[in-house]
Amino acid sequence: MKKKTLLFVFVLMISWQTNVFAQERQVTGTVSSTETNDVLLGVTVQLKNTSVGTVTDLDGSYSITVPGNENNILVFTYMGFESREIEVGDRNVVNVSLSEFVESLDEVLVVGYGTQKRKEVSGAISSVKGEEIAKITTPGFDRAIQGKAAGVQINSSNGIPGGATEVRIRGTGSINAGNQPLYIIDGVQVTSDSRTANLASSNPLSGLNSEDIASIEILKDAAAASIYGAQAGNGVIIITTKKGSTGKPVISLDVYTGITSMAQDIDLLNGPQWVVLNREAQVNTGNVLAGYYADALYGSPESAPTYDWLDAITRSGKIYNAQLSVSGGTEKTKYYLSGSYNSQEHQFKGYDFARGTFRVNMDNELSDKISLQTRINLSSVKQHSMDVPSFQTYNIFISGLAGVPVEPIYNEDGSINTNLRSGWDNPLFSIANNKNTGITNQVVGNFALNYDIIPGLRFKSSYSLEYTTVKEELFYDPRSTAGIALNGVVRFNEAEVTNWQTDQTLTFNKLINDKHSINALLGFNYRNETFTNLNTQGNGVAIPEFGETLTGTTPAVLSSAYNQFITVGVFGRVGYTFDDKYIIQATLRRDGSSRFGSNNKFGWFPAISGAWRIAQESFMEDTGFISELKLRASYGETGNSEISFYPGLSLFASNADASYNSNAGILFNQLGNSDLGWERNVTTNFGLDYSLFRDRISGSLDYFVRTTKDLLLNRPLPNTSGFSSIAENIGSLENRGWEIGLNTVNLDGDFKWTTNFNITFIKNEIRSLLNPGEDLPASNLWIGRPMGSRFMPKWAGVNPADGRAMWYTKDGDITYTPTQEDRVFLKDNLTTPDYYGGITNTFGYKGLELSMFFQYQVGTMQQDQPRAWLLSDFKYNGNQYVEALNRWTTPGQITDTPRLYPGSQAPGTSSSVFGSGGGTDRFYSDASYLRLKSLSLGYTLPESLTSRLRLDHLRVYIQGYNLLTWTNYTGLDPEFAAGSYNMGSVPQSRSYTLGIQASL
C-alpha cells in the first residue's frame, strides 16, 4: 500500500516535472500566400528574440522547437512579403498566410482599356483602394472616396441615404452642359443622372455595394482620359470590382449596425418666446387688432406651452448592413460571389433606404490563348422619401422646423393634431399617410473574351449591358394639404434604361532587349443608351385607403419620354519606355455622338504625355534613399457631350402646355442649331511622383490647367421671336491649380502610425462668354471672375437708433434703400473653394487600429435658404430661430437682427430683409469647414484566438461618421453642394456603427 502510494507520488512528480521542466515542444504548420494561396518555400520562421529558426520546405511546411511556456511568438519573414508575428499560445499547429509586399511603384493601376504599373504612368491618375472604401460605413462608394483623392471634390445637395452626389474632378468645367464625370464600372459606362421623378433625390450608382470594389481610379488629365474622347471632359472614374484568386474558398462576412442622429443642433424658439415675438411683430406693423387676436388665439406668454416639433419629426435612425462573399478558384477558374443587404433610416422621419445586391465575378481560362471574364451585379434599391425639397408647406422638413411651438402636435387622445391654425399639414400626418417610394432594379453586366493571338498581342471583345428599371409610387392623402384640393393624388412613374455597349480592342506589349518597352492599343467603342419613362397621375380617391391604385381616379397626367443617344469611337494609344527611365505615350480618339448637330457629328481627341524617372539615372545612384523621382508632363483634349439629346434639331412637342379643350396640341419648342457640338477641355498637366526611404514618404505633386472652350451657352433671342434662346458653342473658362498628395509612414514597428494627406488648390475663371468683353450678369457670369460669383448689395446690420436694416452703398456708406448701383462682388464664390482635401491618420498597435479622417474645404459660400425662412419676422406663421430673440427693441441697442416687421418691407427701407428676394448677402455665409468625417477603432483578434474559432481573420470595430464640424456656416450642412437649392434639403446624419468582419 505504501509502496503503491510512493509509486503514485513518483509518477505524479514525473509528470509534474514533465510539465515544469520539459521545456521544449514541436510546432508545425504551413505558410502560404494570402493573394494566391500558393504555399511558400524558403520562408524564414524564427522564434522571436532568439536565434532559434528554420525555413519552410517545398510544401511550405515547417517544424520548429519552441519552449514549453505559452509566450512564444513566431516571426515569419519572406522576401517580397510583409513579415508577420504570430503568438503560438498552446497550439501545436500554426498555419500562416503572408501578404505580398507591394512597393507603391509596382502597384498596378487600372487605366482606360488596360492596366499600367504606377511607375509607368505619365498621366494624372488618383487611385483609391477597396480597403479604404470599405472602411467607411456608408452605402454609396462616392461618399467613401470623399476627401481621399486630390483634385476630386464631392458634395451633395442633401444628406439622404442613396441620394445624388455632385462629383467635380478638377473644378467645374461647364456652365450649361453636365459636370459629372464618366463612370465606368467593370468596363460599363454608366450615366449618373437621376432617373426618378418624385423622390427627393436618387443616385443610379447606389446599386453598387462598396465592399465589392477592389479599386477606384480617377483619370484627371487628358493624357489619361482622352481615350474616352467626347465622354471624358469632366474626368473619368473607373471602378473595378474584386475577383477571386487561386486557392481554397475564402468566405467573408461583414456585419455592421448603428444609429443615426442630427449632426448639427437647431435652436428654435420655445412657446413663450414665440408668443412674445409673434405679438410684437404684429404690433410693429401697426396692426393692433392682429396683436389682440394673437393674444386671444395663443394666450399669454406665461402660460404658453412648448411643443417640440423638431423632436417630433426626428428620430434615432437605424443602420444595418450585412455582406457575405465567397471567393476562390483554381488555375483555370476563379470566382468572387457576394450578396449584401443595407438599410438606413435617416434621422428625419420619412427618409429610408434599403438595398440588396448580388454579384458574380468569374474568370475562366478556356485554353492557353482564350479566357473569359464575366462581371454581373444585380441590385435592388428601395427608397422612401418625402417630397422633392421645395418651399412648399407640406415639405415635412420645413413644416416640422417651422412648426408653431404653441400648437399641440398630438390631440389629447394621442392622435395626430391636423387642425393647425397655421393651415399647414402636421408633418407627422404626411409621414404617416402620404407615400413616396421608389424601387430601382438594376443589372450591370460585362462579358469579355480575350484571345492571345501571339504572346504580347491580345484581342479583347467585350459586351456590356446596364438595364435599369425604376418604379415609383406617390400618394397624397386627400386629408393632407398636398392632396386636399384634388381630393387625393396618386402617381405611378416608371422608367427604364437600356444601355448597351461593345468594346473591341487589340493590345500589344513587348519588351525588347530588356530596354525598349512598347505597348500599343487600337480599339472601337459603341454605346447606345435609351431612357424611357411613363408618368401617370390620377386625382380623386374615394377614400384614403385607395391610395395605392390608379383605378377609380380621374386621369390627370399621362406622359411618356424617350431619350436615346449613341456614341461611336475608334481610338488608339502607343506607349514607349526606354530603360525604365524615359516614358512617352500618345493617344488619339475619333469620337462621334448622336447628340451633336448634323454639321458636327465627329471630333478628334488627341493627347500626348511623357515622363522622366530621374531616380533611375546613374547620377542618382548615390542617393539610395530615393526610390522614385518622376517628372511628368501631358497635354491633350477631351470633350464634354453631356448636352441635351437632340439640341441640333428644330422640334415641335406635344404636351399639356399645348393641349386645349381636351384636344392635344403641338408647340414649336426648340429652335435647332445644326452646328452644335461638344465642349472642348484642353488640359495641360505637370506632375512629380516621389518615393523616399522605401516608401516611408511618397506621393505626388501636380500642376494643371484645364481650359474649357466652346462652352455650350444659350444666346438669348428676343421673346418677340417666340423663343428665348438658342444653344451655341461659344465662350471659355479655365480651372487651374495644384494638387498635392503626401503619404508618410511616421512610425513603423509594433506601433505604426501612417498619414495620408491631400490638398487641392484651385482657381476657376471665366475667360469669355457670348460676346467679346460682355458679361452675363443675369446669369451671374462675369468674365475674369469664377463661376458662382455673386453681385449684390452688402448687408450692413441694424441701425441702433430705430432697428431698421442697413446696407452699404457701393462707396461703403450706409443706406436703407440699396439700389442696383450698390451691388458689389461678394468675397467668395458659390462653387469653387480656394482649397480642399483630406487627412487620414492611422495608428496601429498589434491588432488595434485607430483611424481618424478629416475632410476640409475653404473659400466657398452658400446661400442658407432655410435660415431666410426661419428669420422671416413672422411673415409666415411659423417658428423662428432663437436668434430672433436678438431683434431690435430699444433705441441704442446694438444687434444684428432688425426690428420685427412681417410686411414685405419695413417702413423706411426699400429692400426686403427676408429671403433671397431681398437680393442681399444677409443669408449668405462662409461654407468653409473642417470635419472629422470618420473616426474608427478596430481590433483584429490575434491569430491564436481566431484559429481557435476556426477563422482566418476576425476584426471588430466601431466607427463614428460626421462626428465634429468646425465651420462658420449658419446652415444645416456645409457639405450641401455649392449653389444648390437647399430649402427643405435634409442634412447628412451623424452615425455610430459597430461592426464585425470575419473570414474563414
Partner: protein
C-alpha cells in the same frame, strides 16, 4: 502568325471604316417631331392652333414649375385688380403677399406679359402662314384655322398695347410708341428679327385689321363655326371689336355699337336674366355668359400648385376644418364694397371668411373651383354683360342716352337693382361704376381707368395720377438687353 496578325489588323481597319457611316449615330426623338414636317397637314396646323389657344393660359413650362409666371392662368386676371382699387391684401401676418408689390404700384412691379403674349402671337403667326399653304384642305378648312389665329393675334396685341402703351387718346408727353408688330412666323434661326416698337395707332390699326379679316373668314362660305365659348367665333370677334372701338373712342363709338349689336345677336353667350341665375352661373364649369372663355380642361393644365398659384388660390382660402387651402390673401377692398347698393345680387358672389389670425375678410366667389377641385376654373375672357356695357357707354358717349339707359338698366335689373335715371356726364359715370361692379376681379379695372386717362384710385396708398410713369408697364429688361432696337417706356 504574321498572316493572322494581318487578319486582325484588317478587321480593325474594317471597324474603323464603319465610322465613315454617320448613320450609326442616327437617333430619332419620339416625343417631338421635326419642324419641317409638323405643319404640312390640316391636322398639324389644327394642333398648332390648339397650342396657340393653350398658350393663353401661360408660357411654355408654366404647368411644370411651381410659381411660374402665367398669362390668363393668373396674372392677367388678378394684376389689373391689384394695380387698381378693387382689392387689398390681408394682414401681413398671414399673407403670402404674392402681388403685394403690384398692390402698391411699386416701381417696376406691373404686368409682365411680354413673353407670354408674344408666345401666343408667334404661334398664331405660324398657323396663319401655314394655313394658306395647306395643299389638302378645303378653303373653308383653311379659313376657319386662319380666322381663329387672327382672332388670337388681335386679342393678344390688344392686351400688349393696353399694358405697354398709352391709349391713343391719352398720349403723355408725346410718347406714342406701341409694341413691335411681328406678323410672320419664325420657323428658322434666320428669321429671328430684332424689331422696333411700332406706333400706337399702327398697332391698333393692325388689331382692327386682324379682327375684321377674322370676321370675313368666319363668315366665308362653308365655314363651320368653332364651338363657343372655348374657341374664337364670329360672335366673340364682334364682341372683341366692340371693346376695341370703345377703347379707341372718338368717332368709333358708332362702330362699337354696330359690333356690339352683332355680338349680342350672334347667339354666342347667353345673358342671365335673373339675380338667381346670375349668382349660380359662377358655379358652373363653363359660364353661360361667356362669349370667349379660356378652357382649363384638366388639373394638369393648372399652374403648379393649384393650392398656391391659381386665381382661386389668390382670391380665396377655404377652411376645411382640418386644414386651410389657398392663400386667399387678395380680398375685396372696402371702397368697392361701399359701391354696391343694398340688394345687389353681385354682392352675393362673395363670401365672408375668418383667417387664421382672426381677421374677417370678404373674398370674391367668381373663381370658386367650379370645375370640381380647388383652383380649377375656366376664365371668362369676354362676357355678354361686358358687351352690354360696351354698348351702353358707346350710346351714352354718342348722345343716345335712352338706349344707353336701356343697356345700363338691363345690367342693373338683372342684379336686382331698380332702374337708374341719369343723363350727360352723370350717366357716363353711372355706366362706368356699373362696369366696375359687374366686371370686378376679372382683370378689367386697371385698363378701364387707363383707357380714359384717369388717375388710379387706391385703397391703402394715395391715388396714382395718370401722369405717373407707373401707369405703363416696363418692358422686360432682358428683352431690352437682347434687342437694342427697343425703347423702354419713360422713366424706367
Amino acid at each position: 502568325m504574321i498572316l493572322r496578325l494581318q487578319k486582325y489588323i484588317l478587321l480593325s481597319v474594317a471597324v474603323t471604316g464603319m465610322l465613315s457611316c454617320e448613320s450609326m449615330l442616327d437617333t430619332e426623338p419620339r416625343t417631338s417631331i421635326a419642324a419641317g414636317t409638323a405643319l404640312n397637314t390640316y391636322l398639324g396646323v389644327e394642333a398648332a392652333l390648339n397650342g396657340a389657344y393653350a398658350a393663353l393660359r401661360g408660357p411654355e413650362g408654366y404647368t411644370g414649375s411651381p410659381g411660374a409666371a402665367t398669362y390668363y392662368g393668373r396674372e392677367m386676371v388678378i394684376y389689373p385688380e391689384l394695380l387698381a382699387d378693387n382689392v387689398r391684401n390681408v394682414n401681413p401676418g398671414t399673407c403670402s403677399c404674392r402681388g403685394s408689390a403690384q398692390l402698391v404700384n411699386q416701381a417696376g412691379s406691373h404686368l409682365d406679359i411680354w413673353e407670354a403674349a408674344y408666345a401666343v402671337i408667334t404661334k398664331s403667326n405660324l398657323v396663319i402662314d401655314a394655313a394658306d399653304l395647306l395643299e389638302e384642305a378645303s378653303d373653308a378648312e383653311k379659313a376657319v384655322l386662319k380666322a381663329q389665329a387672327l382672332f388670337l393675334r388681335g386679342y393678344v396685341y390688344f392686351d400688349l398695347i393696353k399694358t405697354y402703351a398709352y391709349n391713343p387718346n391719352h398720349i403723355q408727353n408725346g410718347f406714342d410708341l406701341g409694341v413691335p408688330l411681328i406678323l410672320e412666323g419664325v420657323d428658322d434661326y434666320g428669321k429671328v428679327e430684332f424689331p422696333e416698337r411700332a406706333g400706337v395707332t399702327e398697332v391698333y390699326a393692325q388689331i382692327e385689321k386682324d379682327l375684321l379679316q377674322a370676321l370675313d373668314l368666319f363668315s366665308a362660305e362653308g365655314v363651320e363655326s368653332p364651338a363657343s365659348p372655348v374657341y374664337a367665333t364670329e360672335g366673340a370677334t364682334h364682341a372683341l371689336l366692340s371693346r376695341l372701338y370703345l377703347y379707341l373712342g372718338n368717332d368709333r363709338y358708332e362702330d362699337a355699337i354696330i359690333q356690339a349689336d352683332a355680338a349680342l345677336s350672334s347667339g354666342v353667350g347667353t345673358f342671365q336674366e335673373t339675380p338667381e341665375s346670375y349668382v349660380s352661373m359662377w358655379e358652373q364649369a363653363s359660364n353661360p355668359e361667356s362669349m370667349f372663355e379660356l378652357q382649363f380642361a384638366s388639373t394638369a393644365e393648372l399652374p403648379q400648385n393649384p393650392n398656391d398659384n391659381t386665381i382661386q388660390a389668390n382670391y380665396q382660402q377655404i377652411n376645411t376644418g382640418t386644414t386651410r387651402i389657398g392663400f386667399g390673401d387678395i380680398v375685396v377692398a372696402d371702397n368697392l364694397l361701399e359701391e354696391y347698393e343694398a340688394g345687389d345680387a353681385r354682392r352675393e358672389v362673395m363670401v365672408d371668411y375668418v383667417r387664421s389670425d382672426g381677421e374677417q375678410v370678404i373674398e370674391t366667389n367668381k373663381f370658386q373651383g367650379s370645375k370640381g377641385s380647388f383652383g380649377f376654373d375656366n376664365v371668362p375672357v369676354i362676357r355678354v354683360s361686358e358687351v352690354y356695357l360696351n354698348r351702353a357707354e358707346s350710346y351714352a358717349r354718342s348722345g343716345n342716352e335712352g338706349e344707353a339707359l336701356n343697356d345700363l338698366n338691363k345690367i342693373r335689373n338683372r342684379a336686382g337693382l331698380p332702374d337708374a335715371e341719369a343723363s350727360g356726364n352723370e350717366l357716363i359715370e353711372a355706366i362706368l361704376k356699373e362696369r366696375r361692379l359687374e366686371l370686378a376681379f376679372e382683370g378689367h379695372r386697371f385698363f378701364d381707368l387707363t383707357r380714359l386717362g384717369r388717375n388710379i384710385p387706391k385703397e391703402t396708398i394715395p391715388a396714382i395720377s395718370f401722369g405717373d410713369y407707373r401707369i405703363l408697364a416696363p418692358l422686360p429688361l432682358a428683352e431690352l438687353d437682347v434687342n437694342q432696337n427697343l425703347e423702354q417706356n419713360p422713366k424706367y
